[in-house]
Amino acid sequence: MEGFSMSNRRTFIKQSVLGGSALTLGLFPNELFASGELVKLTVLHTNDMHCHIDPFSDSHAEFAGRGGMVRLASLIAKNRSENPNLLLLDAGDMFQGTPYFNYFKGDLMLKLMSQMGYDAGTIGNHEFDNGLPDILSALRFAKFPMVSSNYDFSDTILSDLVEPYHILEKGGIKIGIYGLGIELNGLVGELNYGKTQYLDPLPIALKMERLLKKDHNCDLVICLSHLGFSYEHNKISDQSLAPQTRHTDLIVGGHTHTFLEKPLVLKNADGRQILINQAGWAALAAGKIEFIFDRTGRRKTFAAVVNNL
């Protein structure tokens, strides 16, 4: 394993929620937990794949022979065989970047990503490159939901085709996903996004995470973000958003093509930890996070966050 892979670290969570020490085991209705059981959820994620279906050519200056969805697919298959509770996510900018896009538009990408078993994706700025009709065309081939909470498509041909949030279940774990897209004005041609409304990501994020964690009782809340990892200037990013959230456990990021060795761990508005991860671009990397859920209830109540990463 070259580059930035790191050894498997196992860390126990010490932090409790709601002054959890006061809550003793006896108060939990035991039927909610299958006794003595831990459940592992493997989250694999990509971003900014930009139609890099094949690995870079052997003559490529920087990434010779690396990356590509055809290789990524075998990694996914391997992980899925190790743990069927696998959640496969993408944080946008699937489109644009190789001739596959010029010849086959976004259609091929969404066919392949469906084949690979993606569970959810979001809309990046490059999805708009050939306008809304080409997004519509590609979505016909998607067998997984596109989630965007702050792009309002209701006055466009994509109305009802993009979900504001999505809830799914893996191995008894209930996962809530919402999506955040970057400001379109100045980045995407107006003609290309048409009547799509960009809404301020922060209030939308706070609304969505609360809805998912509190109203829908999701065990894990994930934000698919195409806002970007961080900026020098005052522009909303994953790093500026995370400390303002309360119920989001993981931000799967994109846009800035950031390679991370491991997720960044920040404190949210309640002082609990939140993960931000991003996996470069061009399927040169995959983010991998395993959440091990405790179904026994023999421990104190833990926040769905990590320690000592």
């Binding site: 892979s5 670290r9 196992r10 860390t11 126990f12 969570i13 709601l18 809550l23 939990f28 909610l32 690995p55 003559s59 022979g65 690396r66 990356g67 590509g68 055809v70 290789r71 697919a73 075998s74 990694l75 644009q96 970047g97 190789t98 596959y100 010029n102 010849y103 084949q115 050939n130 774990i173 209930k174 980045l187 995407v188 041609g189 107006e190 009782n217 065990d219 894990l220 991370l260 060795e261 491991k262 997720p263 991860n277 040169l284 990397a285 995959a286 983010g287 991998k288 996070i289 395993e290 959440f291 091990i292 859920f293 405790d294 421990r299 109540t301 833990f302 926040a303 990590v306 990463l309």
Partner: protein, 252 residues
């Protein structure tokens, strides 16, 4: 009553906790996708193959041979200069062919829009696709000298970008000298700028271009133009040898 209410709140609080499963442990291991990460997936490969085969012939077509690698850099570079020059000369020919009686003055190519480098040696259609994956077309806009200067300010802040038909000096992120056609820029004079539709629509924070005095959409796809121009040039003059010429320079 107060006690009852308190108990109710506590029960609610407990109930809402109980309904979630909690994470006990988190392992992380971001993975580099290289040959160590696994072989090519045979199933996905079988899906992709017919698509790949259908475009491979086009992609492998030779366009030209370059004496050097063409890599983008700031304040100027062979690559940014080459693309900007091709935009300016193509737009000039276009205006002649269309009898528009317009002499384009300058070209601007956004740095971020050039998506890959061109290697030394054989340039194939694939390379040009990687350089210019977008379906952008050449657009001419008529701008004031004032707008021209705003553009130069932006280029200076960014430390350089792709330009043709002008000479720009930068000192500490500011314009220190600016000439086009051998003359300083006059605020009230109108200039014809060649760029792509993305920029002409105000993209990449170039909002100074949003309301030009006139605009001509040529319908010429930039990628096609690059392939055509390089191919013609190679057939005519042989190996392409691009030089930097100091059109954007840093002043001390």
């Amino acid at each position: 009553m107060r006690r009852l209410f308190f108990s109710f709140v506590v029960i609610l609080l407990l109930f809402s906790c109980n309904r979630h499963l909690f994470v006990r442990e988190v392992n992380t291991q971001n993975i580099s996708i290289d040959s160590n990460a696994g072989q090519l997936d045979s199933l996905l490969e079988s899906w992709v193959k017919p698509y790949r085969d259908s475009i491979e012939h086009d992609m492998n077509t030779l366009v030209a041979i370059s004496a050097t690698p063409l890599v983008k850099d700031k304040p100027e570079s062979k690559l940014t200069n080459l693309v900007s020059d091709i935009l300016l000369s193509t737009a000039t020919s276009y205006c002649l062919e269309q009898n528009l009686n317009i002499q384009p003055d300058i070209a601007y190519v956004n740095y971020g829009g050039l998506r890959a480098s061109i290697p030394q040696g054989e340039i194939t259609v694939q390379h040009v696709f990687e350089l210019m994956p977008f379906e952008n077309e050449i657009v001419l806009i008529k701008i004031s000298g004032e707008t021209f200067i705003l553009m130069a300010d932006k280029i200076a802040i960014r430390g350089g970008e792709g330009v043709a038909g002008m000479k720009l000096g930068i000192r500490n992120g500011k314009v220190s000298s600016l000439i086009t056609g051998g003359k300083a820029i006059e605020q009230k004079t109108l200039y014809w700028l060649v760029t792509n539709d993305y920029i002409a629509n105000g993209g990449d924070q170039m909002n100074m271009f949003s309301n030009p005095a006139e605009r001509i959409n040529t319908g010429l796809k930039i990628r096609d133009v690059l392939i055509q121009n390089l191919s013609n040039r190679y057939k005519r003059d042989g190996i392409i040898d691009i030089k930097e010429d100091g059109r954007i320079f840093n002043e001390q």
